[in-house]
Each structure stands twice: as C-alpha cells, then as structure tokens.
C-alpha cells in the first residue's frame, strides 16, 4: 500500500516535471526581449533559498507560506508549518516581517514519535532584514543579512507541546548573471534552538548550512529554478556535538500572477545523508526525506 502511494507520488512528480519542462520550452519559444521586462524582486524566486530582496519602501505584503515535511525512517510522517505573515519595508535598507505560525502533524507507527493527528496554533515569529550590499547596473551582487526569532508552542518534528525558542540568522545573497534572465542565489544559515518540554527537559540544538540556487526567468512573470542545500545538525548551539548532515536537492517555481500577487513553490528531496553512530542511508532523524513549500503573497 505504502509502495503504491510512493509510486503514485513519484508518478505525479514526474508528470509535474514534464509539464514544467514543456511549459518552459513553450515559454522560451514565446519569450520576448528580456531587456524590456521590469526588474524582478529576487527574494522568492529561488525556492527554499531566500534571495536578497527587501521589497520597496512603502510596500506592504500579506503572505501565507506553508512548508510541508514528509517521510521519516518508518511509519507515516507528514507535518506542515504555515506562516501567516505581514511584511513591510520602512526604509530603502530594511524590511520587517512578523506573524503567527500554524502547524499540522499526521504521524502514525513511528519508532520514536507518538501517533498524532492534529492542527494547532504553533507560535509566532518576526524577521528583520538589512540590505548590506545593493545591486546596481554595475554590480550584479546583492547581499542581505536576516535575523528571525521564532517562539513555538508546538514541537516542529513531533507535534507535542513545548516551549521552543529559535533564532535563525542568515546571509541571503544573489547574483544577476544575465540581465533580467538568469540569477544565482546563495544562503548561509545558522539556526540555534532551545526547547523546554512539558516534563521540564531542556534541549539545545543547532542547524547550520548553506545553499546554492539557480533561477531562470523564462517569461516576464515566470521563473523556474533548482537548488541544493547542505545542512548539518548539532545537539549543541556551539557545534560541539555533531549528529548528522544531509544534502537536499530540488526544483523551484515562481509565478507573478498579477502585479500585486505572486506565488512560489519548491520541492526538495534528501539525496544524501548520514546519522552519526547509525550506519543507515539518509539522515531521517533530524531531517525529512522530502520537503515542499507553497507560498502566496498579496502586496498592497
């Protein structure tokens, strides 16, 4: 049964990839002169990799951003976290975001996690983004520093009630390789966390990593891309207790639906991973087999 579901999932993915490829071919054939296109905001064109864009001074945006995580070592595992987010750009160098988190967990028959089927309010977050290096027509590189404190009441992985404090720090950089056409994105990530369980136990951990992404603007309102992530996990915030790492790879899609609305989607599969002290393929203790992202944004 599980095999049939997985087979169906991979067929769906293959069909999706084929549809994207044919759409890209059609788009490239129809594409008009890219020099006549408006410049694009790069923040969301790379999938899970975040571009350097900070929006426009005076711009406000509401977004719904869902990340799903699928597949662990055994049993059935599906978890999502959705950000209901308000973001605004008060100056030409700073962007501020904040919002609420919602989470779902559907867990059955897993060795280390309780069975659970729940939807819950999961906490809140804020993000501060500072544009450190700006792109000009003479400099293709743009770099933004991002700080994102999160407070969670629901454990991201298992879904049980906790008090979790996370402070994500990231460098978001991108390069415009071909004017209005081809972009490369790079992220560096450090994500220390402190968790207190209902039983009073405390857990300190950190995830550190980086990504590289490539995005091609095939039409003025359509960007296709791919990205690779390398993530390392530690049972300490100071890198003293390495527990495993993983490489994730996958495609991304960005569509500007109207001048004031866009959507972005991405999917990553773990293609390599290791758990320290456990000679198995993939790291499914700290990471998942697949993750997917779907985001809709409305500017006003």
């Amino acid at each position: 049964m599980r095999g049939a579901i997985q087979s169906g999932r991979f067929h769906a993915i293959a069909l999706g990839a084929a549809a994207c490829f044919s759409f890209w071919q059609g788009g490239a054939a129809r594409a008009d002169d890219a020099s006549s296109w408006r410049e694009i905001e790069t923040k969301y064109i790379f999938g899970f990799t975040t571009g350097s864009g900070i929006g426009l001074e005076g711009e406000k945006e509401f977004t719904i951003d869902t990340v799903g995580r699928f597949g662990k070592r055994d049993g059935h595992y599906t978890a999502t976290e959705t950000k209901y987010e308000y973001e605004f750009t008060p100056s030409q160098f700073v962007q501020i975001e904040f919002g609420a988190l919602g989470a779902t967990h559907n867990i059955r028959g897993m060795t280390d996690l309780d069975d659970r089927n729940q939807i819950a309010f999961a906490g809140g977050f804020a993000e501060f983004r500072y544009l450190a290096i700006e792109r000009t027509s003479n400099n293709p590189l743009s770099v933004t520093l991002a700080f994102e404190p999160n407070v969670r009441l629901i454990d991201e992985t298992g879904g049980e009630r906790v008090h979790n404090y996370e402070f994500e720090t990231a460098v978001n950089a991108d390069l415009e390789l071909v004017k209005n056409r081809l972009y490369a994105g790079f992220n560096l990530l450090y994500e220390p966390e402190y968790t207190q369980t209902l039983f009073g136990d405390t857990v300190r951990e950190a995830t550190v990593g980086g990504s590289a992404a490539l995005a091609v603007r095939v039409l003025s309102n359509l960007v296709l891309g791919g990205e690779v992530w390398y993530l390392r996990h530690y049972d300490a915030v100071d890198f003293s207790a390495f527990t495993g790492d993983a490489v994730l790879l996958g495609p991304s899609l960005y569509i500007q639906i109207t001048p004031k609305m866009f959507m972005t989607a991405a999917w990553n599969a773990q293609v390599w991973g290791r758990e320290i002290g456990n000679p198995v393929s993939f790291n499914l203790a700290e990471f998942q087999r697949h993750r997917a992202r779907l985001k809709f944004a409305w500017e006003f």
Partner: protein, 117 residues
C-alpha cells in the same frame, strides 16, 4: 542562560535595524537633487532623467491624468501611489553610478529611467 543569550542577540539585531533605519536620515540632510517628472496620457515626461552619484534624490511626480498612477522602481526600491491631479514626492537614498528604471505599476507601458553618473 540561553534565554539571556537570545535576548542579547535580539538586542543586537534591533540595534542593527535601528542603525539601518537611521542610515537614510543623514543622506536626506544633504542637499537633494530634485527631479521633476509629469505623468500624462499614460507616459512619463521626460522619461529619461539624470542625477549625480552619491547625492540623495527627490522625485516630484505630477500626475496630470484622470486616474491614479503608482510610481515604482525595483532598483530604486520605492513605490508611491499618486492620485489623479496631484503631485507625489519620493525621497531616494544617495545612489551609486548606474541606470535605474522606474515605471507606473498600474500601466505596463509607462516606463522611464534615471541615469546616475
């Protein structure tokens, strides 16, 4: 202990953001280069303007059309809705040399560019 470390980092982040927010302020204190543009019949006039590098810029956009327009630019990182028959004032930071495109977000055909040199 860890909560204290988090608070310190939050304070640091807030300080960086505060500095960044203030960053534009000193440049606005400099004499800004004023650029006047009118918008009529769905077009900017003039649609090619220039300004010196490393000095703040003040755009005055007068909308002569009967409907609102939105002066917007990804590279200038500004947007402002200018109601019909009114003038919008847009402050832009001191810019490095280069070409910066602007447009009306409500009208794809209305384009212009600022050359900074």
């Amino acid at each position: 202990m860890f909560a204290v470390a988090i608070m310190k980092r939050l304070t640091l982040a807030a300080a960086i953001c505060g500095i960044a927010l203030l960053q534009a302020a000193p440049s606005q204190a400099q004499q800004a280069t004023e650029i006047r543009v009118t918008y009529s019949n769905g077009q900017f006039q003039p649609n090619q303007v220039s300004a010196p590098a490393d000095k703040p810029i003040l755009f005055r956009v007068k909308n002569l059309d009967a409907k609102a327009m939105e002066f917007e630019s990804t590279s200038l990182r500004v947007e402002k809705v200018v109601a019909a028959g009114t003038e919008g004032v847009i402050n832009v930071r001191a810019l490095k040399a280069g070409r910066y495109e602007f447009y009306d977000d409500f009208n794809d055909k209305a384009r212009g560019a600022l050359t900074v040199q």
